[in-house]
């Protein structure tokens, strides 16, 4: 018998093989208020006037926060920061749909969502100053930011699994970027979530960029939403600049998740600013593109909805700005006053009980700092970023 090459050379011909492709899947983008301000009244959620106005207020808070934090950063009072500009509707619409008992797994841009979940503003600023203490996420069910992109997805699945085992009435809510969807951690975490049917909502803020990489170079998939199909889990694609749409989408997702159906929500939005304060976006995208997305400004769009529905008059934009401005300044002051710090801090909490070698290292450092105060010439304690 001959073991030599046996491949058959294919003679094409129509044998009826019809591949499945993404074009076969119909994915609509859910919206309530169109960019031009018109809206589908059947889809307007049943909220009180104050609640409607609150959504605006929080979006404005996000915007003011981003502006002020950026200024602080430029003054050297914060480290590198990532702004949520352009994504306010996604951040606020999602954050508002959560219960305070839910756990948020943040990814870095969602200041307003964290604040409304209970995190003190002082702590948020302290985190960006690089102070570990802020990652306690005091007063709020929030896991520290996943600076390592995507790494939080399986973590969130595991925590949701815990909620499921304990029959709790809560979900894990994971914020992630479009870039994060390309990580192995995303894949494995999502798949496990699907298998276990855990109460988890994965919220992808598809802001069209991962630093300089545009979404269409990040993946050949036309949407993030369709990625959920790989896990047999449901997904919702929503206009991420439409706060009511995001609110409805996440509320629905959350309900389903509570029933054991994890959901991926893709909020289609745009990162209006730089990736972070260390990035220069003019290197990789055009002004026109940025301009184009300005039309869909989430605040303006929602403002026209409020106007149209007679709720705008009671919004005092200047007052909100001022109120939050004051709050921001107080938070900065409080952060400035953060307790006297000690090197012990960086050794503590690694283990419940410090192992002898670590104790030795700590004691050595403490002695050394006393003996050789000249080492401080090399140490910039940067309580202010």
């Amino acid at each position: 018998m001959d073991n030599s090459p046996q491949s058959i050379s294919f003679t094409p011909g129509d044998v009826g093989v019809d591949p499945i492709s993404q074009g076969d899947v119909d994915i609509e983008t859910y919206s309530v208020v169109d960019p031009d301000g018109s809206f589908d009244s059947e889809r307007v959620p049943d909220l009180s006037d104050d609640e409607f106005r609150d959504l605006y207020r929080w979006m404005l808070v996000q915007r003011v926060y981003d502006d002020r934090a950026t200024k602080l950063q430029r003054r050297g009072q914060l480290g590198t920061i990532a702004s949520g500009r352009g994504q306010e509707a996604s951040i606020v619409g999602s954050g508002s749909a959560l219960s305070l008992d839910d756990w948020i797994f943040p990814y870095g841009r969602e200041a307003a969502a964290l604040l409304m979940h209970g995190l003190p503003l002082r702590d948020l600023l302290m985190y960006w100053r690089g102070i570990e203490d802020a990652s306690r996420m005091r007063n709020a069910n929030i896991v520290p930011m996943s600076i390592s992109v995507g790494a939080h997805v399986p973590f969130a699945t595991g925590k949701a699994w815990g909620m499921q085992l304990g029959d709790e009435d809560t979900v894990t809510f994971t914020n992630l970027g479009d870039g994060a969807t390309s990580t192995g951690a995303f894949h494995e975490g999502m798949n496990l979530a699907g298998v276990l049917g855990v109460p988890a909502v994965f919220f992808c803020l598809n802001n069209q960029y991962a630093i300089s990489l545009s979404f269409d170079e990040q993946t050949n998939a036309e949407t993030v939403a369709q990625k959920a199909l790989a896990y047999g889990i449901d997904s919702i694609r929503v206009d991420g600049n439409d706060v009511l749409a995001v609110y409805n989408a996440v509320s629905t997702a959350r309900e389903r998740a509570l029933e054991g159906n994890p959901v991926l929500v893709e909020a289609v939005t745009y990162r209006r600013g730089a990736h972070t304060t260390s990035d220069d976006p003019t290197r990789y995208r055009s002004d026109e593109e940025v301009e184009k997305w300005k039309d869909r400004d989430p605040l303006e769009r929602y403002r026209s909805f409020l106007e149209e529905t007679g709720r705008w008059d009671a919004v005092d934009e200047a007052a909100i700005r001022e109120e939050f401005g004051t709050e921001f300044e107080e938070a900065v002051e409080a952060a400035d006053e953060f307790e006297e710090r000690d090197v012990e801090e960086i050794f503590e909490y690694l283990y419940k009980e410090m192992p002898p070698e670590l104790e030795r290292q700590l004691a050595g450092l403490e002695d050394f700092l006393e003996e050789r105060p000249d080492v401080y010439d090399h140490i910039e304690r940067r309580p202010k970023g």
Binding site: S135, P144, V153, P154, G158, G162, L165, G184, G189, L192
Partner: protein
């Protein structure tokens, strides 16, 4: 009871699942199948499918979900089927498990165990036989334990499950079934972070861990003229310097034996610790007997890789000859 290591592991899992209903066991094939080495045999029947679960082929998710469960008040005991499949989970260990307590200043903690059989000698396929404790032992915040006997396997695994911090638990699969000893029926703990003096002696200290302990003991048994003190390190992180130092201060000589590749292996750290605090006691260079700086060969030649007793004997003799 008289038990092998695998039986001891199994017993520890049974005991802790009974003891604390927050203990959850998962990993590939751990449920119906009882694990490819049968470490989790019987758990599903006893504790049900809420607490004993098969995981998809997802090492990242296994490690990552363990962190999530652990921060939520559970005691996950995850199995990675072979240590050669732990590298995909490396990031979850480094980025999440090892530092969640530290990042959150103790607000969230990860009392989890990742068990994995490690080492060569069982004629497994490629990538199944690695010993990378040198790399994992270098992750601050992650404890790393490697028992060598059934007694320790049970006691240390119970300690690991109860430990408030994440523990990587590497099991010497080469001796999973090849040795038995009396193991108490009841629950007991063996401390993590404490080496065991397996045999007292005055001439030379031989430090080892995991399956290499047995080659070490055999080698020492063969050397009639040498009164060796044998230390089973048992935990790589935190590393029990004191027990090693005390012994070396007494014997003045030391040989370290491990199966992992030599360069960058944990043997270097043992030597460095002795250098730090017992150098002046040394009467000879510290010898290392280790795997070579190569991947573990496929099964037909893997035995050449392993530090067998004669290699250890020679190293001890050489050390004694100084």
């Amino acid at each position: 009871m008289n038990a092998t290591i695998i039986e001891a592991v199994n017993d520890a899992l049974h005991k802790e699942m009974e003891n604390d209903d927050k203990t959850v066991v998962f990993g590939q094939d751990v449920a119906e199948s009882g694990g490819v080495f049968r470490a989790t045999e019987g758990l599903l029947a006893e504790f049900g499918s809420d607490r004993v679960l098969d995981a998809p082929l997802s090492e990242i998710a296994i490690a990552g979900a363990a962190v999530g469960l652990a921060t939520h008040g559970y005691r996950p005991v995850a199995e990675i089927q072979f240590s050669g499949f732990l590298p995909p989970a490396f990031d979850q260990l480094v980025t999440n498990a090892s530092r969640i307590r530290w990042r959150t200043r103790g607000e969230l903690t990860a009392p989890m165990v990742v068990r994995t059989p490690y080492g060569a000698g069982v004629r497994a396929l490629e990538h199944h036989s690695e010993s990378l404790e040198g790399a994992y032992g270098h992750i601050p915040g992650l404890k790393l334990a490697i028992p060598s006997t059934p007694h320790d396997a049970k006691g240390m695994l119970i300690s690991a499950i109860r430990d408030p911090d994440p523990v990587l638990f590497m099991e010497p699969k080469h001796v999973y079934r090849s040795l038995r000893e009396d193991v108490p029926e009841e629950t007991y703990t063996e401390p993590l972070g404490k080496a065991a003096v397996r045999r007292e002696g005055t001439d030379v200290t031989v430090v080892s861990w995991g399956s290499m302990m047995h080659n070490t003991i055999e080698a020492v048994d063969n050397l009639e003229n040498v009164d060796a003190e044998i230390i089973d390190l048992r935990t790589i992180s935190p590393f029990d310097r004191e027990t090693v130092l005390e012994s070396v201060r007494k014997t003045g000589r030391c040989v370290v034996v491990h199966e992992a590749a030599k360069t960058g292996g944990f043997g270097g750290e043992v030597i460095a610790a002795i250098n730090d605090d017992a150098l002046m006691y040394l009467e000879a260079p510290i010898n290392r007997v280790t795997g070579f700086d190569i991947p573990v060969p496929l099964l037909s030649m893997e035995d050449f890789y392993i530090p067998h007793p004669p290699r250890i004997e020679e190293a001890i003799e050489e050390t004694m000859s100084h």
